[in-house]
Symmetry: D2
Subunit: 344 residues, 4 copies
């Protein structure tokens, strides 16, 4: 079975394993207070050109999302997000577990707009019963989105301006940020993200690390006592240097960008393959997740050899499925898949 | 600087790194639904001879404690624990963050007794205002305790019987279980722990792994839907096999026991050294943490060469400090320390 | 200003005030453990012919909803409800504050169907990532709904059967139950509600009391330790007899039914008046809330003399508004309003 | 049975019932946005000479405590309090239900000192593992305390200064404030309380009202969006004017002070009676709760005629019990009790 099921099927890029092995018996202080984490923080700051950002390392994405959201919001506030947002549909209520409501907005291709945010903000604020309604307290977007699409610089700028006007910190979930920024379809840089967002993550788990998400807090008002929040939410890794070392590996020598680029290009080959075979797509993704629409028969044929994810029904005979590449995807596997697509 | 500061200063035992490296590019399903986790579960079950136990793997100790406690308790219930219990004093309110009170009991050498548990249970139950008082809903103990002591089989049996009589699930936090069971001062086996407790953890982070705690749920009534709880609490590791592989490493060929034994013996040498130098001890620990009482001058001298933890003031001129060994402690470092102690 | 704005503009029915005055200086135990509450419990049980139901009295509706929901759900479960459900839109995230997600379903006239519930239940259960999705754990409906409509006996029976099949306790929020059961458009009795639901409330606040909601728990599995939950949620009234006395007043001599009937009939007169004036309605309500659609000019004219609630925009020139009667509405006020409607 | 069991055995002072009856059929807006609440707010501000204070009315004490605490604290912060504090021992974990830890300090006669607060603050702040320890975020005291004692002006001033130095808002739970300020043993005024505390409550439930606690927020930094918190915590009373009317009754013509004074004087007569009969006391209370220590035989004799509260065992043959007066206590009942005490 060749797996295109998700982007966390393999371990880590060899550079990272090497770093872990090389430093294995060194003794360092715990809880990310070691020199490796310090170095990694500097590299992440350089990566997004945000010299004053606070950087923290967490093990996983849900943990990062929840710690951030619970840190930013007041008890009676909620987080605006797309109705397809990961925090709303795929985190088993982890946000609600901290006492906050996910305020879901309709989405197009996984994205929400500045106009929607402003409308939601004003609707609550101007409602006669506003004190009976959860107050929007921040905005959550994912980039790439859960369906592989990207915000343009114009869209993100508009969101950012609206958020600042409304006093809503903008949080970008970058679990797949590497695949987003490296895409030929992207006009955003890491620096743009740092400038336009108040807080965001740089995902390692899906982009070459064993695990790890870097939290970047550019808004100084949100930086205080974040380590308390990490511990309170159960996310303080004892051997914190493991996170630092991995981000050193990713951030050095452009590895993070290179891994993203590789996966995106392979995904776009797969996309072209399905298109050439006459398949429709659920959405026009330009990153490492592709959502072709297949007949039951096509699914069955491909399913014998490839693992992919069922996504959603489309019409009577067809469903959208997900093929996902990663930093570790082998070119020969893609070539084989392309041949099999051709023969569908 | 030679570090005796804690038992999470180094990486992982080489066996574990090898396993990670060897399997690195394999493709497996995520979220601990892979064959390695399956194998690890079987090994943990065998380790404690609990063939029907449910086994889950979590990244860290606070995460494990909180997920377990929030899973067991009803909203109006709290968890009885020693006033020195990790959940009460060193987890930044992570238990309270899930809506539950830690019901702290006075302790002796970090331990609580069956009699205390029964008294606390009856006090609440028989109080005229019992509905206004948090209901004890489970019991938390750590073994070894936070100060390195151990429950005897007699003590744990008494606790277990009382807990079952009172309907209070007994949860043993085994973050350092390996160091507890391997101690010459222990009369408990892993099977005893599994038989006497309803739920417990087998700590990997401090006993040879990069990270990882195995949650063992022997009480069938507590097994349902635990994976939902893990995800809700932000503890579901995407590349879950990393946890499985590490526990395979620890559980195979008696490695877990061997690592525990080694650290304990080195710690007891340090204990003997301090005793020979005429030092008192805060507590009579038989495991890998030792708590000699040192004068300021002694602390200063040792502090130039060794990292250790300040623990608490004892009297005007002296403080208790902690020297901690681990699976990775080098014998030559202990020998050097022993010489320096002799010269104090 | 004549107020048709809501059904909590006035104090209490004189019978209730008399009871409070008559017993004012009596001494009774606190926290609803007095003989009046005991009597009231018996009366509520008789009212809905549920001799084994557990009855509790709470001060307000949000408090009752939250206490019930937090009592029924496991931490990783959420409550299915209409997207217009009070708990989802008008309680400032009180449900989420207890760690649970409101799982909103599309609604028609404020109602959800058995088919929707079953579909939502199966969708989560059969999803490959079901452990990453909040598990539906109960169903919340309001009756009358937030827009004055009623479930038919057939609809409620279907919901009840589906809920039992899926293992989802059915909770009916009866904040306006009196107006629902007394409506000429209702084919449900209080006994039907008790038979078909696992837990429901009998609203006093809006139907003649100063305040007070009776919680009726017919499902024995949900009865345990509910008083602990009340205290934990801050809802245990010190002078609990105030609640008992009010429900004695409401439940005796058919007062609750009579008050509901009166308000409904006056509301239906208003409805007829607006219909005769050629107004459309947002929804075909048969209870004490009516939602005519008015032009801006009509709103302005009526707004000079009457308080009513703005509801929502309908089209360019018109909005839905709410006129609400209550047990205290004066017939002459309705007559005056009808005249003014005629002259619109 | 004559009840000296607690101070919430009766209804309300007749002045309050009259106000409720007189205004009963008036129509006012809900949720405390009516003119009566406005008037009551002005009266409370005048009562404590705090013209800029924000005033809110809540139904009960636990509700008030929890809403205040959850409103002030950040998620990783806890509330310092006496180990006998109501929030710590008698609210079924309502504070923890909002995610916060009660940080209990040893007490003397129910009180904590400025020195204790500063020490606790510094201990956490200066601990090497401070990020692993709940951060003190505010201070809770009750005045009178749960055992009837009072802070002196000097003590409260010291607490206030320490709190301000440490950045810890000081919250005074005044559930029995009326009995505190009216005591001959008090050297504090309502204005002192308002000046020295950041937030406090003026208890109505136990001092003449049917129910109701006024929350007084003198610290402007704590005033924002408090009404959202009230609704989120389920404490927004629909017919909010009921609270306003009751506080109008209490605050006008010195009724609140008069009721407090009356109850205190009767309690002190009872105290003198027990002292004359040779009884010891658990604590030297100067307010409406008295804690004589009685033999089993004395308890039995008095128990035939009087309801009082069992408090705690003292020595082999004796227990402390509580006799409690209130605004409603009849002088003839006290006289009868005094005679019976004399005959013990």
């Amino acid at each position: 079975m060749i797996r295109f099921e998700c982007d966390y099927s393999e371990g880590a890029h060899p550079v990272i394993l090497d770093l872990l092995a090389k430093t294995n018996l060194e003794q360092t202080p715990g809880y990310s207070e070691d020199p490796y984490c310090e170095e990694a923080r500097a590299l992440v700051r350089a990566y997004c050109n945000a010299p004053d950002a606070a950087i923290h390392f967490l093990v996983g994405g849900t943990q990062a999302n929840v710690t951030i959201i619970a840190s930013v919001l007041k008890p009676y506030q909620g987080v605006l997000c797309a109705e397809t947002g990961h925090i709303h549909v795929h985190e088993t209520g982890a946000v609600e577990a901290t006492g906050h409501k996910a305020l879901a907005l309709p989405q197009t291709d996984g994205k929400i707009t500045a106009a929607q945010v402003e409308a939601a903000y004003l609707k609550q604020k101007n409602d006669g019963s506003h004190e009976h309604i959860v107050q929007p307290g921040m905005v959550y977007i994912s980039h790439p989105t859960e369906c592989g699409t990207l915000y343009t610089k114009e869209e993100l700028t508009a969101l950012s301006e609206t958020c600042r006007k409304c006093g809503l910190p903008l949080f970008l979930d970058g679990a797949r940020l590497g695949y987003g920024l490296a895409s030929p379809g992207s006009d955003l840089s890491a620096e743009d993200v740092a400038t336009l967002c108040d807080i965001f993550t740089v995902g390692g788990t899906k982009v070459g690390a064993l695990f790890g998400e870097a939290v970047v807090i550019t808004n100084p008002a949100l930086q205080k006592d974040f380590r308390y929040m990490i511990k309170r939410q159960g996310g303080m890794l004892a051997k914190g240097r493991l996170l630092g070392l991995q981000f050193i590996g990713l951030m050095k020598d452009g590895l993070y960008e290179a891994l993203g680029k590789k996966a995106d290009l392979l995904a776009l080959q797969i996309k072209d393959g399905f298109a050439a075979a006459g398949c429709d797509f659920l959405v026009d993704s330009v990153t490492n997740q592709q959502f072709p629409i297949l007949t039951r028969q096509q699914q069955e044929i491909l399913g014998k050899k490839y693992a992919y994810s069922y996504w959603q029904p489309v019409d009577d005979g067809r469903d959208a499925v997900r093929f996902c590449t990663s930093w570790a995807t082998k070119e020969e596997d893609v070539e084989e898949l392309l041949k099999d697509i051709q023969n569908l």
